[in-house]
Amino acid sequence: MGFGQLPYDVAHLLGGGILLLSFMLLYQRRVAAVVSVLAAQGGLLALAAAWQGFVQGAPQLYLTALIAAVAKAVCIPLALRWTIRRLALARGVDAALGIGPSLMAGVALVALAIMVALPVTTAAQALAREDLAVALSIVLLGMLMMITRRNAILQVVGLMSLENGLVLAAVGVAGMPLVVELSTAALVMVLLVVAGVFVFQMRERLDSLDIALLHPHRGERE
């Protein structure tokens, strides 16, 4: 299976789309738009998982796709939107690194991911190795977002987009045991619940979601 064959091309297209959305996460200037892009990424991830289920003849991947569609494309974005509206959070994205430099760093990270992943996986199937390179790029972009954004909610979004990359990697490897997909999905839900607890408490205590306000409380107190 390689370039020019339908299973490969569609999988590649979907993976590329998810990667593109990771870049879009980086250049949004409004928090609400970031959440919309995250929802779109979740939806595309669900499609990618379903396609892999079809190609590999692995029905359990449809379940992964369903979980991704319900949780990542619908429930979590709705919850985030509700949180933002309810708490009247700052609408703007507060970036530690400007948008231009973020995008350039993103391109560099994708190049790095490809240079790392492709040469070492020559023995694996073409689909799996391309998928791995794309997934690694998405993971690195998620980390970049977590590093360069100051709002707590955007850091959570970065973590979730990183998780999307992981799920993409997991579904791309034929025969990966189901336990991993399920746990990944469960993890995201749990992560958000835990994050939600913190987010609410931060609001109560500090009246802001900017974690810079927490920094005086870190390290050793005098």
């Binding site: 070492v120 020559t122 973590l159 990359g165 913190f198």
Partner: protein
């Protein structure tokens, strides 16, 4: 059901039940009861055959760690029986504490037991989430900052560990065939025939991912903050158990990758992380004013030393690393119990506010003094034995490592002796209250120190045999 599974399911059932117990005292006693039964079950494991059952395995490598974990679970529950009332938690948070504690105990037992690497990952994940909850329990800005940092850094670490697990499967899949699963035993058996490049990539992600959880420099930033917040019982189990579970995961990954002759040498990477942790932590110890942070940095140091031992590899290096893990868990949790009791007396965590304990509260002061001496690696406790093994292994096979290792050890011992003097000797601050310390604090401290002494002085024959076998398993 295999006995080993009970070690996981019983604490989880206990967690569910504790969520419905409204009375504080009853809940704390029930917490002790669950931990006590878990400990007895863990003792019964000694008679069980060492084999793989389903997703779990029992071998010489995880058995001593399991026994120790259930023992520390029990002593921590006893300690918190006396201490938790002073934490000032409202009933809802108190219930959350007990639930999270037993959830954590079950999850870390599963992480130690897991044969399937996916299950191991899920277990470490659950243990992390439970401990994040416990760290942030007080809800003060400092606690939330610590919990947030813990959550974000370990969230990324855990995600990278999952990526490493997936890549490991990708490496093994051409050999194992589809549906081969993620069994450690199976992966280790086929590792020699896998593609070395993919194995390298997998190992790097697993090491960075689980290394974050084990608090290795430069991935350690969450650990001092996390251990300085939350009820003090948490510091004992974080230092004593969570770090061990993460380090065991690194060891399992090392054993797989090390089975391939052309893959990266995992020992060299472990040595790098280990020695960096030793040096950074040894110097960082000098700048600490907060007692809990001081001993959290000491945990980073000891994890670094154990990692260095595993980095040396071979029977002697692995034995030193394992003994160091066991000794560190015992002594460090004893010290945290002592620090906790002192903090309750004085109402402050600063080292200067805690001074003069041997005069103000002699029974606590002396127990803590001996505990800190044990953590510093002074003879005759277990950490001295393992550090001696470590240095002699370095001298025998890796002479270049003696300089950084020796420097780190000396600087750290000096810092700990200084803190020992500041905390236990000298005059107590005049305006601080003195009081009595009850058996729920002193009992666990002495029990741990006695065991550490036993490990350091005699190392009973059967245990020595088991550790020797474990050193072989670790590869």
């Amino acid at each position: 059901m295999p006995l080993a599974w009970l070690l996981v399911l019983l604490p989880w059932a206990g967690a569910a039940a504790l969520g419905f117990l409204p009375r504080e005292r009853v809940a704390a006693l029930a917490n002790c009861g669950v931990s006590g039964i878990t400990f007895l079950l863990a003792l019964l494991l000694l008679a069980e055959p060492q084999e793989v059952t389903g997703w779990t395995r029992l071998d010489a490598l995880n058995l001593p760690l399991l026994l120790l974990a259930s023992l520390i679970g029990l002593t921590t529950a006893i300690y918190s029986l006396g201490a938790i009332a002073d934490e000032g938690l409202d009933p809802r948070r108190l219930r959350a504490f007990h639930v999270a504690f037993q959830l954590f105990m079950g999850a870390q037992a599963l992480a130690l037991l897991a044969d399937d690497l996916g299950v191991m990952w899920v277990a470490i994940e659950v243990a992390t989430l439970a401990s994040v909850l416990m760290v942030g329990l007080h809800g003060t800005p400092a606690a939330i900052e610590a919990a947030w940092k813990f959550f974000i850094l370990c969230g990324v670490g855990i995600a990278l560990a999952l990526l490493g697990t997936i890549i490991l499967y990708l490496a093994a899949q051409p050999v194992l065939g589809e549906g081969g699963g993620l069994s450690w035993a199976a992966l280790r058996a086929v590792a020699a025939r896998c593609d070395p490049g993919v194995l390298n990539l997998a190992f790097v992600f697993l090491l960075v991912g689980y290394g974050t959880k084990a608090g290795l420099v430069p991935l350690h930033a969450w650990l001092p903050d996390a251990e300085a917040e939350g009820p003090i019982a948490i510091s004992a189990v974080l230092s004593g158990l969570l770090l061990n579970a993460a380090l065991l995961a690194v060891l399992r990954a090392k054993a797989i990758v090390g089975a391939h002759p052309e893959a990266v040498q995992p020992g060299a990477l472990l040595l790098g992380f280990g020695l960096a942790s030793v040096l950074v932590a040894a110097f960082a110890l000098w700048r600490r004013r907060d007692a809990r942070r001081f001993f959290a940095w000491s945990s980073i140091l000891h994890m670094g030393l154990a990692t260095t031992g595993f980095g040396f590899g071979g029977a002697a290096g692995n034995l030193a690393g394992l003994l160091h893990m066991l000794g560190h868990s015992l002594t460090k949790s004893a010290v945290f119990f002592g620090i906790g009791a002192a903090v309750r007396l004085r109402g402050s965590q600063r080292i200067t506010d805690l001074g003069g304990l041997c005069i103000a509260a002699p029974r606590l002061g002396w127990a803590l003094a001996i505990g800190i001496a044990a953590v510093a690696g002074l003879p005759p406790f277990a950490l001295f034995a393992s550090e001696y093994l470590l240095v002699s292994e370095a001298a025998a096979g890796h002479p270049w490592a003696i300089l950084p290792l020796g420097l780190g050890l000396l600087v750290a011992v000096a810092a700990k002796v200084q803190t020992l003097q500041a905390l236990c000797f000298g005059d107590p601050p005049p305006d601080r209250a003195t009081g009595k310390v009850d058996w729920t604090s002193l009992g666990p401290i002495w029990a741990h120190l006695l065991l550490a002494l036993l490990l350091g002085m005699v190392l009973p024959g059967p245990l020595r045999a088991m550790l020797g076998e474990a050193a072989g398993v670790a590869g």
